[in-house]
């Protein structure tokens, strides 16, 4: 929390606007693209479009700083502006300062910097980023100054890793913001970023810069750096390395506490730090490993980024109506702006809803399709809350498993969206190793819930009453298409639900047949027939479990996926409606403008000059508003088109995945059934 929140304030305003712009262009690889620039500053400018794949890998390395929401925007800026000139500057700096001292200096500032924006990123990115980011000319100068100031504290941090970490954090807070601003007020964002990279880079970056004159080389070097480091690096460098590495490792855990830098965090942070530090020290390799995928990414494509979130261990916490379910959220990723590759946190159900709410608030208006969170089910939860935790009756464990699965799908859907997964709230959600503040707005019965209900009713009325004359044929077709899709999916879902229900029925009636066949066999006097019946009973009993598993497969693969899509279609509709609302404001602005112009004309006719002036102002004001809302409308239309394109692609892919998985499940159950009867037949024949 702290990380993302603190830094964001600094940059947020600017960042958001920039993000939007970036996103439009770079939709899929918004995050990556900036990074790419870093890698090949000079070329990047030219390559930007094509360069994405290449650049993307570097982004991974550079990204790490991103963890905090604020960082990312900074990176963008830094990349774009400084990158061209910056590159050259970096090498210059490094040679000048030399190996040891400079590195230390640089490293320290990052540590300081780290506190606020991105602790982890620094570590990760340090390899690559220092060079890249250092590229920013301004930053270079600024950083040096900063570094000098900061060096002392940072050194402590590096050496004393465990104990110092706290101090470092503190120092960072103190030093960071003021220093940065003071040193380079204009650049502040950039400089801070620069510092971070430079810090990381101290050891490694210097090497890289030395080795690589060519940008391309730099990528390779990165991978090599890790390996080369140990042997090649000078003793000083090594010293530096050790501290930075642990720092980086430490930082991630720190990051969570950092965010609430104020008071309580530091104490919590320390415990985390110590355990983390130990692993970090023995494994200097880890950073290398992190760097490597990024290098590979460079060569391959941004598509290689993967993030996989799994939800496990649902746990009931507390008793009675105040109890809640907590889930373990485990993330595996190779995306560099996450601090680790594999970690887990604990979240409760309302946290997921809260996350969704935040994402909607932030991204809906810019035309993004936000995957809907699973629905809150008052009945299901109450049952669980009231049921004793020991008695795992099947309906509630079913419910929990269902919810767990849908949460997992929800998280992965969100994570699959490049913009959403880099959202500070999302990252905080999956990364912050502490409890999130309660999301209070989620309860269906709370006042907020009622308010939401009213809002929804209002929206629905609006949707029904306002008929916008569609100027864009694409949207007209798409809206129609979405409506059809919705109806079809609902139909399909109903059929699937029926299928699941009857499959369950088949399973239960098979079980009861197995039982009665067993009874029959016990009654049967003819021994051969009795044994045959007994075999039959056993075989059907086995098919019963298979049918049951099949019913589950039907449910999880077919029915739930389809249901998800019904909800996703809902999200799509929301986005479309958001566009309609934008259109409405634009229309409103236009009518207002017309009115104001009329008023102005009247005033002119009447010859009342004082009023003319006032009317003139108003006209100008509304003209600006019209222009702005039109821009907004165009922007959201463009964004939606991009989103829909992506949505369709993902949908087809999901559809294929679903079919493959489902067919495979069907095949497994058929194979199992075959096995059952294959063992049955010879036995039955042997009897008769």
């Amino acid at each position: 929390m702290a990380d993302s929140r603190e830094p964001p304030p600094l940059f947020n305003d600017d960042d958001d606007s920039r993000k939007d712009d970036d996103n439009d262009d770079l939709f899929t690889s918004a995050v990556q693209s900036p990074v790419s620039e870093l890698t090949t500053p000079e070329d990047q400018t030219k390559q930007e479009g094509a360069g994405d794949p290449l650049t993307s890998p570097p982004p991974a390395t550079s990204f790490p700083p991103d963890p905090s929401g604020g960082d990312r925007p900074d990176l963008f800026e830094s990349c774009e502006e400084p990158s061209v000139g910056g590159f050259s500057s970096v090498p210059l700096e490094q040679p000048a300062e030399g190996g040891g001292t400079q590195q230390e200096l640089s490293s320290e500032p990052p540590a300081n910097l780290v506190d606020a924006p991105s602790v982890e990123p620094a570590v990760m990115s340090s390899f690559i980023t220092p060079a890249e980011e250092a590229s920013t000319l301004d930053a270079a100068a600024a950083t040096n100054d900063d570094d000098d100031d900061a060096t002392n504290p940072t050194n402590h941090a590096g050496e004393d890793t465990a104990s110092s970490s706290e101090e470092a954090l503190v120092t960072v807070y103190d030093s960071e913001t003021p220093e940065v601003h003071s040193s380079a007020p204009e650049l502040d964002a950039d400089s801070s970023l620069l510092n971070a990279p430079s810090f990381l880079g101290d050891g490694e970056t210097t090497e890289i810069s030395l080795d690589d004159t060519a940008q391309e080389v730099s990528l390779e070097d990165e991978t090599d750096d890790g390996e080369l480091f140990d042997p090649a690096s000078t003793p000083k460098l090594q010293l530096n390395q050790d501290p930075p590495l642990p720092a980086s490792n430490i930082l991630p855990p720190m990051g969570a506490p950092l965010t609430p830098p104020v008071a309580p965090i530091t104490p919590t942070a320390t415990p985390n730090l110590t355990p983390n530090v130990t692993p970090a020290a023995p494994t200097p390799v880890t950073p290398v490993a992190a760097a490597r995928p990024s290098a590979e990414q460079l060569e391959s494509e941004s598509g290689d980024e993967f993030i996989e979130i799994s939800i496990s261990d649902p746990q009931k916490i507390g008793d009675g109506m105040s109890s809640y379910m907590a889930y373990k959220v485990t993330t595996k990723t190779n995306i560099a702006y996450f601090r680790k590759k594999h970690w887990s946190v604990t979240r409760r159900f309302s946290d997921f809803l809260g996350l969704h709410g935040k994402l909607v608030e932030k991204h809906l208006h810019s035309g993004r399709i936000i995957p809907p969170a699973p629905e809150k089910s008052a009945i299901g939860t109450t049952k669980i809350k009231l049921g004793s935790d020991k008695s795992s009756d099947s309906s509630s464990s079913d419910f929990i498993e269902r919810r767990r699965a849908s949460l997992e799908r929800y998280m992965n859907r969100t994570a699959a969206h490049p913009t959403l997964r880099s959202d500070p709230d999302f990252r905080e959600f999956i990364e912050l190793d502490a409890e999130l503040p309660r999301a209070t707005q989620t309860s269906a019965l709370s006042s907020a819930g009622v308010l939401r209900l009213f809002n929804r009713v209002g929206e629905t009325v609006n949707k029904m009453t306002f008929k916008m004359d569609e100027s864009d044929q694409w949207f007209e077709e798409k809206t129609q298409q979405i409506e059809n899709l919705d109806a079809q999916l609902r139909k399909l879902h109903a059929a699937m639900e029926g299928l699941v229900a009857y499959r369950r029925e088949l399973a239960t009636s098979t079980a009861s047949f197995a039982k009665s066949a067993a009874v029959l066999s016990s009654v049967e006097e003819h021994s051969a027939l009795s044994r045959a019946l007994h075999q039959l009973a056993e075989s059907t009993e086995r098919t019963h479990t298979i049918h049951h598993a099949q019913a589950d497969a039907d449910f999880y693969h077919l029915s739930e996926t389809t249901k998800d899509y019904i909800h996703l279609i809902g999200a799509v509709k929301d986005v479309f409606h958001e566009r309609v609302k934008t259109f409405q404001t634009w229309q409103h602005a236009q009518t207002m403008l017309a009115k104001k112009r009329e008023a102005k004309a009247k005033a002119e006719l009447a010859g009342r000059m004082d009023k003319v002036q006032q009317a003139q102002d108003e006209v100008a004001e509304w003209e600006a508003k019209v222009e702005r809302s039109q821009e907004e409308f165009d922007r959201i239309s463009r964004a939606i088109k991009k989103e829909m394109e992506q949505f369709d692609i993902v949908r087809v892919k999901d559809f294929k995945d679903m079919l493959v998985k489902y067919l495979e499940a069907l095949m497994t159950s058929q194979q199992q059934i075959i096995k059952v009867w294959e063992t049955f037949l010879p036995e039955a024949r042997a009897i008769s």
Binding site: Q481, L492, G498, F513, E524, F655, L659, Q670
Partner: protein, 383 residues
């Protein structure tokens, strides 16, 4: 008669025809699939052959079978005989068909199960086979007339009167009398245990069939829904989607017909056989009850003889002799019948279990095959 009462109105299952060992049936009857339905009147076509030559082709209605059963069982003394159960009449009018469909497919279902005459044919054929292969009943002149005379014999509606029902219920109370012979006592105990167990198994099995029918129905719904969800072919990934959709749709469609066929066949080869023999056991029970009644009569006569005054002694003696003879005859016949019945029962049930298992295998293999094809086709589509 007692047997008639308890047996008529019961239905039977069907199974593949099979030759009978000791007694060679005089005719072989095959009900062809040609069935004409005219309102409530359903006519089955019988092909009667003797020694491999077709002797007669004739049309019979269900009512004719009912009347035949009545005649066969009443025209001769049937003590100690296990009368093959008559198949139940299937619902042919829309009202009953609807009730039947709702029972099978669930209350909310709107599907109406179409007439399934092939099942009726098989069951009636099986019934005639059982009659013909019965050592006593198979010789009945009425049965031979039924199969050789072109015109169906004029029939009267067979109705069970109040009196016969009353006597049935009185007789039923005698079922608890202990038997004087261990063989029959054991058989009676077994029947008493077996009947509920078999009834349960039948119910459970028919539920499996139901569930499968419902599944196939849902699969059909899925197919219709999938058919509607094709997208315009104007983009590459839309086309891919449509392709996958088509493959999946075909696959589901095949699965649907496979499930349907499987349910149908399973019902015929296992469910119907189970039901038939369950009914047959009921018939056996009726026979045993009849015998018990004779036994009770005989015992009563014995007691009457002991107590009889000298002037009545002769009449009592005569009555006792008659009762004894009837009882002895019945017991002898019943012993034969039961042995034959059990042999046949075990044989047919075992075969049906065997067939059932083998059929499960074939079905699953076919399904697996369909799935494998669909999966490989879908996997071949590169996104």
């Amino acid at each position: 008669m007692l047997e008639e009462g308890s047996v008529s109105g019961m239905s039977s299952g069907a199974s593949t025809p099979e030759p009978e060992a000791p007694f060679t049936p005089k005719f072989v009857v095959r009900l062809s699939d040609h069935v004409t339905k005219d309102g409530d009147c359903v006519k089955f076509t019988l092909q009667v052959s003797q020694n491999g030559h077709t002797v007669q082709v004739l049309e019979r209605e269900y009512e004719d079978f009912e009347y035949l059963e009545h005649c066969v069982t009443t025209s001769q003394p049937s003590h100690g005989l296990i009368i093959p159960p008559m198949p139940q009449r299937s619902a042919i009018d829309p009202y009953n068909a609807e009730i039947q469909s709702k029972r099978l497919m669930g209350k909310g279902s709107k599907t109406l199960i179409p007439d399934e005459f092939h099942k009726d044919c098989l069951q009636l054929q099986k019934y005639l086979e059982l009659l013909l292969s019965h050592p006593v009943l198979g010789k009945s002149q009425k049965l031979h007339d039924f199969l050789t005379v072109k015109e169906a014999p004029p029939r009267t509606k067979v109705k069970k009167g109040l009196i016969s029902r009353l006597s049935d219920s009185l007789d039923a109370r005698k079922a608890s009398y202990p038997d004087c012979e261990e063989f029959f006592q054991k058989e009676r105990d077994w029947v008493a245990k077996y009947q509920p167990a078999a009834a349960n198994a039948n119910d459970a099995f028919s539920k499996i069939i139901c569930a499968q029918l419902r599944i196939s129905h849902q699969l059909e719904q899925m197919v219709t829904a999938l058919k509607l969800s094709s997208l315009p072919n104007d983009q590459v990934h839309y086309m891919q989607f449509n392709n996958m959709n088509m493959i999946f749709l075909d696959c589901i469609d095949t699965l649907k017909s496979q499930t349907e066929e499987k349910a149908d066949k399973e019902d015929l080869m296992f469910g119907a056989v189970q039901t038939l023999w369950h009914r047959y056991v009921q018939a056996e029970n009726a026979m045993l009850l009849d015998r018990t009644c004779l036994m009770v009569d005989y015992q009563a006569c014995n007691r009457a003889l002991d107590k009889a005054k000298p002037n009545r002694k002769e009449a009592a003696e005569r009555a006792k002799k008659e009762a004894e003879q009837a009882f002895e005859e019945c017991s002898d016949a019943a012993r034969q019948e039961i042995k034959e019945f059990q042999r046949k029962r075990v044989e047919e049930l075992q075969r049906s279990i065997d067939q059932y298992a083998a059929y499960q295998l074939t079905c699953s293999r076919a399904t697996l095959n369909t799935l494998t094809q669909a999966l490989s086709q879908i996997k071949a589509i590169n996104l």
